[in-house]
Each structure stands twice: as C-alpha cells, then as structure tokens.
C-alpha cells in the first residue's frame, strides 16, 4: 500500500517538472517559427527599404540656350560642325545663371559635378536630330548625377556616405527649393537597358532577356517533361533501363545548378560552338535544370488520376495511347501546369549556371532575338550588387523587387490553378 502511494507521489511530484519541460518544448517550437518568419520579414523589409528609392529619379530641369558662340560653332547650319560642337557649355551657362556668384575654374568644376556626364551627349543627340533648335532656348530635363541623386534621396540617412561637397550640397538644396532639381517616377528604370551610370540604367534589357530565355526553357522543358512523365508512368516496362532513367532523374534534381553551367559551357559552347551569352544557350541550360522538377511533378499529377478512368476508357476499346491522350492527360494537366510554373519560377530566379555561359556581359542594348547577347534579371541584380556606386545598390534592390513581383505572381498563379482546376477524387 505504502509502496503504491509513493509511486503515485513520485509521479505527482515529477508532474510539475514534466509540464515545465512540455512548455519549454513548445516555446522552442514557437521560437523556431518566429525566427524563420523574422528572417523573412527582415529580408523583405531590408530590400524594400533599400530599393524603394530606386523607383524615383532625380532630375535637373534647365533653360538651355543654344548659343552658337559659346558652343564654338562658326556655321550653325553645317552638320559636321554641329556634331563636333561643345555641348557642355550651354548646360554650364544655364547652371551658372542659377548661381551667378560662382566663378573660377574650381567653382565651375564643382558646379559641373551636379550634372550627369551623359547630359551633354543627350543634348548633342537632340541637336543633331533637330538642328532647328540652334539659337533658341529650350526647357530640358536631365537625369542628375549619381552623387546628387544619392544626396537628394538619402541626405537624412547617416548610413550613406555623401560624395557631394558642402558647397555642392548647399547648391543642390537651393535648386530643390527653386524646383530645378526634382524627383519623379523613374521611367528610365523600366525603359532602358544597362548603363555605366546608375541614372541611365534600367531593367528592360534584363527583363526582355529573361523572357526570351524563359520562352526557350518553357517551349522545350514542358513538352519534353510531360512526354517523359507519360512514358515513365504509363508505358515504361519494369526493367533495368527504366530504373536507370528514374535514378538519373532523381539525381539530376539534386545536382547543384552550377554543374549545369559547366555542362552548358563544355557541351553547348565549346563542343557545338554556340555563341556565348545568348538566350538560346541560357534557355537550354535552364531546360536541363528544370526538367527533373517538371517530370517529377507531372508524374505525381498522372499518378493522381484514378485507375477507374483508365479502366473505363479501356473497357470501351480505347488503345493505351488513346486512354492517355484523351483521358489521363487532360485530367492531369492542371497538376502538370502547376509543377511547370513552379519549375519556371525556379529557373527565372537562377543565376549561377548563367554566369558560366557568359550571360554576365555588360550589355546596353535591349536584346532583339534569341541569338543576340543578353543578360537576365537575376544576373543584372548580381552585376549591380557588385558595383561600387551607391545608385546601383538601390537599383539592384529595386530590380530584386521587380524579380520578386514576377516570382510571387507566378507562384500565385500556380496556387490559383491548383485550387481552381485540380480535382480531388
């Protein structure tokens, strides 16, 4: 009797400790989840806080007088002279009108620092295209220099090192008050390719490059993946060859992506002599990389079609191929599409293999075909992230936001498709 009492007593005494352990264990679980979600939140908020200013551009609006005298033009109608004229002079004249007190070589140089180095060639293009503006005064808007851009956007943020001198900062503030320097929506970012100057750099080239590459990947990997899945699920005999194919697919799904880059470099470029940095080769490499994902998800989709459908079709005399093409495939299609979209989203965010096949080149032009040099969005982010200019860092963050928008909408589409079209048997 006493023995059993003490037994119950021991259990009762240990209960408190055990419940404490239980609570601690739960707390660990919640902490783990909280850590993971905190990481996600910190990641996103960091990128948004760094990148939202990338969607704004700082502009300088000047009243530019095209005075042939200061542009060293003797004959303002001669195209050859127009091409060689001094286009910085009218810009400097317009700026000096804002600050008449500035004089001397060093003062002028400081003032010039407010202008973007591309501005004079923009003026030149304008005049060469339309010589009639010579002698007139035009109100022109230019992208400001990178240093001004950083100052205007981040002058209150101590973590940015400002490159403008005190004097230039005062000028910039004065010009901002007069409305000469202003910020507006950064349309350049969405309408231009890459550039050496952050103010003129955009993601359009990278987006088009990504779309071309993804087109190649999708056109090849979806039909091939679905065909392979159909073969393995429906037709493959139970033999060593089939086993070998399956082992290969499962292994390829876990091979690091950079290995596919080595494959592309050695086979497509060195062996077949295909050109470097073109969307076709990038698409082929990404196709090989996403193929296992698509095959695995397509097989799962085919497996989920109940045997009764097959049996019914076979029962009324359909051939094996007819059963597959007319009944199984349409029913499995939503699942296959979902898997393919997720595979494509992976491919869209992939960087490493594309570095090896030369898609890291500095390319200003927006690519115009599958065989023209191109870069893709993630590689563009990589390139900008490595640049020393602060302006490129915020544009890299902005480009990340564009990339994530694409990825999130693709995943949302996949989820929507799954919810909307997938049937439960």
């Amino acid at each position: 009797m006493t023995n059993s009492t003490s037994q119950a007593e021991i259990v009762r005494q240990s209960l408190k400790r055990r419940y404490r352990k239980e609570r601690r264990f739960r707390a660990y679980g919640i902490t783990a989840i909280a850590l993971a979600i905190t990481a996600l939140v910190v990641l996103f908020s960091d990128i948004i806080s760094k990148g939202h200013t990338g969607f704004l551009k700082t502009t300088v609006t000047l009243e530019v007088t095209f005075d042939p005298e200061i542009m060293y033009l003797e004959d303002a109608t001669d195209p050859a002279q127009i091409r060689n004229a001094d286009y910085l002079a009218p810009l400097m004249a317009a700026l000096k009108r804002e600050f008449p007190e500035v004089s001397g070589r060093s003062g002028e140089r400081a003032l010039k620092g407010l202008l973007n180095s591309y501005s004079s060639s923009e003026v030149k293009d304008l005049v060469v295209a339309n010589p009639a503006v010579m002698g007139t005064t035009q109100t022109l808007t230019f992208v400001a220099s990178d240093d001004v851009d950083v100052f205007v956007k981040h002058r209150d943020d101590s973590s940015y090192s400002l490159k403008l001198t005190e004097e230039q900062q005062a000028w910039t503030l004065a010009l901002m008050e007069r409305g000469v320097i202003d910020t507006s929506f950064n349309d350049v970012f969405f309408t231009h390719g890459d550039s050496r100057d952050p103010g003129h750099a955009g993601v359009l080239g990278a987006i088009v490059g990504s779309l071309l590459t993804m087109a190649v990947t999708l056109l090849l990997s979806f039909p091939i993946g679905v065909a392979a899945a159909i073969y393995l699920e429906e037709f493959a005999p139970q033999n060593r060859l089939t086993d070998f194919i399956e082992v290969n697919i499962n292994n390829l799904a876990a091979v690091p992506s950079i290995i596919f880059g080595l494959l592309g470099l050695a086979i497509f470029i060195n062996l077949f002599g295909m050109p470097r940095s073109v969307p076709v080769v990038g698409g082929l490499v990404l196709m090989l990389m996403t193929l296992p994902t698509i095959i695995i998800s397509s097989r799962a989709a085919i497996k989920s079609v109940p045997p009764s459908i097959r049996e019914a079709a076979e029962g009324i005399g359909a051939s094996k191929m007819q059963v597959v093409l007319h009944h199984v495939l349409p029913l499995a299609m939503p699942g296959m599409l979902t898997g393919s979209i997720i595979g494509m989203a992976q491919a869209l965010g992939e960087t490493a293999p594309l570095l090896l096949i030369g898609m890291v080149a500095f390319i200003v032009d927006v690519p115009d075909g599958f065989f023209s040099s191109a870069t893709v969005l993630p590689v563009q982010i990589f390139l900008w992230a490595g640049s020393p200019e602060l302006g490129f860092i915020e544009r890299a963050s902005a480009a990340i936001m564009v990339l994530l928008t694409f990825l999130i909408s693709m995943n949302a589409l996949a989820i929507w498709l799954r919810k909307r079209l997938e049937r439960r048997w």
Binding site: K21, L40, F235, L252, A254, L291, I295, M321, F382, A385
Partner: protein, 462 residues
C-alpha cells in the same frame, strides 16, 4: 532565314500537311462508302502526315544549329594562310575572336592582318550561305516528308498503330534525355579534369593545402607557379555549410515538429506558405542580403565586442545560407513526421506521456531515418550553393576554422575561374572543371547516401 522565323514556318507546313492528309483520307473513303471503311480515323492519317512533315525537319534543324558554329569555325580557321595557323587551342580561340569581331564590326579592319579581314568576310559569307542552305534543306525535308506521308495514305493502312508507335518512341526519347544529361555532365567534367591532372598531379590537387591559381602570363614571371591544392576550398565549403546547418537544422526541425504536432490547422495554413516563401526567394537575393546587410552588421557587431571580423566573414554567408535551407529541412521533416502513424502517438499518450515526451521518445526516433536523409540532402544543397557565397564570401583561400575569417568555397572558385576571359588550355580554366567534378561527386555521394539511409532504416508500419 533566321531559325526563329523558320520555326513558325515549319508549324505552318505541319498544319498544311495535317489538313491535306485529312482531306485525302476523307476523299479516299468517300467512294468506299464513308470513313468506316478506313482502317483508322481520318485524324490519324492526318496526324501521321503532320508528323512526317514536322519531325525530320525539326531534327535536321536542331542538328544544323548544333553543328553549324563549329563547322564554320573550322572552315574559316582552315582557310587561313599557314603562318597564321594557330598551333594551340588558346591561339585558335584568339584568332577566332579576332575574326568574329572584325566580321561584326566591333574591331576595325585596319588593326589586323589582311588575311584575318579576308577570313572575316569568308565567315560572313559562310554564315549567310549556311542560313540559306539550312532554310532550303529544312523546308524541302518538311515538304518531302509531308508529301510522302500524304501519298501513302490508303484505306488499308492502319495509321493509328503507326502513329501511336512513333509517339511512344518520342516519349521514350524524352525520358532518355535524363540519361543523356547525366552522361553530358560526366563527360563535360571528366575530359577537362583528366587534362588538368596531366598538368597538375592528382595528389597535389587532393591533398595540397595551398590554393592560388595564378598562371604565368610571361614565362619568367615571379610566382608563376600556381598552387592547386583544394583542401582550403573544401574546408571553407564545409565551414560555411556547417554554420548553415547549425542554423537550419534546429530551426527547421523544431518548426516542423511544432507545425505537425501542436499547431492548429489555421496556424499551419498561415505559417507553411510563409516558410515556403523563404524557399522561393532566389539565391541571388539571399546573396545580396548577405553581402550588403548581414556582413556589415556582423563585422560591426564583432568590432563592438572587440573581435576582428573580416568584411566577407564565413559567418555572414553561412547564416544567410542557413535561412535559405530552413524551409528545405522543415518541409522534408514535416513530411516524415506526418508519415509516422497516429497509433504510435495514441499509444504513447495513453501511457501518460506528455506531448513533448511523445515527440522526443516515440515520434522522433521513428522519423529519424527520414530526417537524417533530409538533412543529408540539405547538406548537399549547402555545398553546391553558389550565389550566396559568390556574393558574400571571399576569394582568399584561407585554411581556417574561424567563422569570422574570410574563406572561399569550391563554387566561388569555379565561378571566379570561369567568368570573364579564359585561356582555354590553361591549368586555371581546367582547374574549374576539376573542382566541378569534385562537387558533382560529393553531392552525388551525399544524395545516394541520403536515399540509402532512408531506405535502409525506414521502419515499416503497414
């Protein structure tokens, strides 16, 4: 014609072949008394004609595009006068790039010998005639194939069986592509690796403790001997992966346990997609985050604590890589934990165990093989991860275990050696392939081991 325009043309031809084939089979059937006198439905005759029209043409197009570049290159280089004939692969690529640059106008013709200019015009001509020939050949094959198939439409031919057999072979070929890819990977690394070991002894590569892949530009250069010992790279890779696993395994595993055993369906529905979002973030974004936010933060923190931390510390790359792998570990563990039968839980709870005791003493041991498999897969993923380390880890190959130091990894070195201008035959370029081979073997071994662990130690509950 550009290959991109040739594809729609083939599609149009295929559609025409289909329509004509359909019409012909109907026409043949009409005098016999309707399509019931045909061996197959008109669709199959038409589909067979379309297949014959499209398939050979597409195959020829793919082969042409694949070999065109190499053949033209060989022809152009072969046509150069003897004194310009390149005597090594490195020179060949130099001459070739000169020729292509002159042809595209990127290099002025004034700066190169006249033979190169001649070769560049030859290159342009060859490219143009190759495109013309390709267009003609592909269209001819498509028309011919379609026409032959159209001619062979007859009521007694069982078009369906033939169509289905061909389709089945195509499906098989698509599945076989997986083997081809593996073979391609193995061959692309193995040849270069063998050539690399011809220049650098294998023992030096495997056991050398110093890595500085400098090759001489001039023969008499100081320090022209490169060192190709992979141990520091491997240790760096393991250090960063280990940091990543220290983050990912506890967090991933505990969140999987909580989600599987404690969380309400509502909470699961919110938390799981959030974790999956972490998995969907591209690695270049993690790399950006590691290099520009986490690394400065860590070196600042270390300085505040009076420690010396590199700006490219292994800790920053490892921590962020760990965050990337959390969803990988948690989703794999979640699957395994959910696969443990409910009866085990019920039995344990009925004996008076608390929920955490059930998890620790019953569910965890039952799920252990699967969890171990998942962790091994995660390790293989960490070892092969490239962008985070390329952006956040350093280039200096330090042999150290200090997480605040800068280390480099196998993948970083592959990228560094292969991005930019390469000399084709140098030990430097070949070393990248040897590292690729090493990476492939290690990850393959880990994957096979993971599968083996799961298969061998899985408890059967059915």
């Amino acid at each position: 014609m550009q290959p991109a325009n040739l594809l729609p043309l083939i599609v149009v031809l295929v559609i025409i072949a289909f329509v004509l084939g359909y019409a012909r089979s109907r026409a043949l059937a009409a005098p016999l008394g309707g399509i019931k006198h045909l061996k197959s439905l008109p669709f199959y005759y038409a589909a067979r004609a379309a297949m014959w029209c499209g398939l050979p043409a597409l195959l020829v197009l793919a082969c042409w595009l694949g070999f065109e570049g190499k053949v033209i290159q060989t022809l152009v280089v072969g046509s150069l006068p003897a004194e310009l004939q390149p005597d090594s692969a490195g020179k060949a690529s130099l001459v070739l790039s000169q020729i292509t640059n002159v042809a595209s106008g990127a290099l002025s013709a004034d700066f190169v010998p006249p033979a190169i200019v001649e070769a560049s015009t030859r290159l342009t001509n060859l490219q143009q005639s190759s495109q013309l020939m390709m267009t003609l050949l592909v269209v001819c094959i498509a028309v011919l194939g379609g026409f032959l198939a159209w001619l062979r439409i007859a009521p007694h031919v069982n078009a369906r069986v033939k169509f289905e057999t061909t389709l089945r072979r195509i499906f098989f070929a698509c599945a076989g592509l997986a083997i081809l890819t593996t073979v391609g990977i193995v061959f692309s690394v193995i040849f270069e690796t063998v050539r690399f070991f011809g220049k650098v002894p294998m023992t030096e590569f495997l056991f050398g403790t110093s890595w500085s892949p400098q090759t001489a530009i001039r023969a008499d250069q100081v320090g022209s001997e490169g060192a190709f010992g992979m141990i520091p790279l491997f240790v760096g890779t393991l250090l960063i992966s280990a940091i990543a696993m220290v983050v990912a395994v506890p967090v991933g595993l505990m969140s999987a346990i909580y989600l599987a055993e404690y969380a309400s369906p509502r909470m699961r529905g919110i938390v799981k997609p959030l974790l999956e979002m972490l998995a969907g973030v591209p690695t270049v974004v993690y790399g950006f985050f590691a290099a520009l936010t986490v690394a400065p933060f860590i070196s600042g923190l270390a300085a505040a604590l009076g420690l010396q931390a590199s700006a490219e510390s292994a800790l920053a790359a490892g921590l962020v890589m760990g965050v990337m792998i959390i969803p990988f570990v948690s989703s794999l563990s979640d699957d395994v934990i959910n696969a443990v039968p409910q009866s085990l839980r019920d039995g344990s709870l009925a004996l008076g165990a608390t929920q955490s005791e059930t998890v620790k003493k019953v569910i965890f041991p039952a799920a252990l093989p699967g969890i171990m498999g998942g962790i091994l897969l995660a390790v293989s993923r960490a070892i092969g991860e490239t962008m985070i380390v390329v952006m956040a880890a350093g280039l200096a190959a330090n042999l150290t275990a200090n997480p605040l130091d800068s280390v480099t990894t196998v993948t970083v070195q592959i990228v560094t050696l292969l991005v930019g201008d390469q000399e084709f035959d140098s030990a430097k370029t070949l070393a990248a392939f040897a590292l690729g081979m090493l990476l492939f073997i290690v990850t393959l071994a880990l994957n096979i081991l993971a599968l083996h662990v799961v298969r061998k130690y899985r408890e059967q509950y059915d």
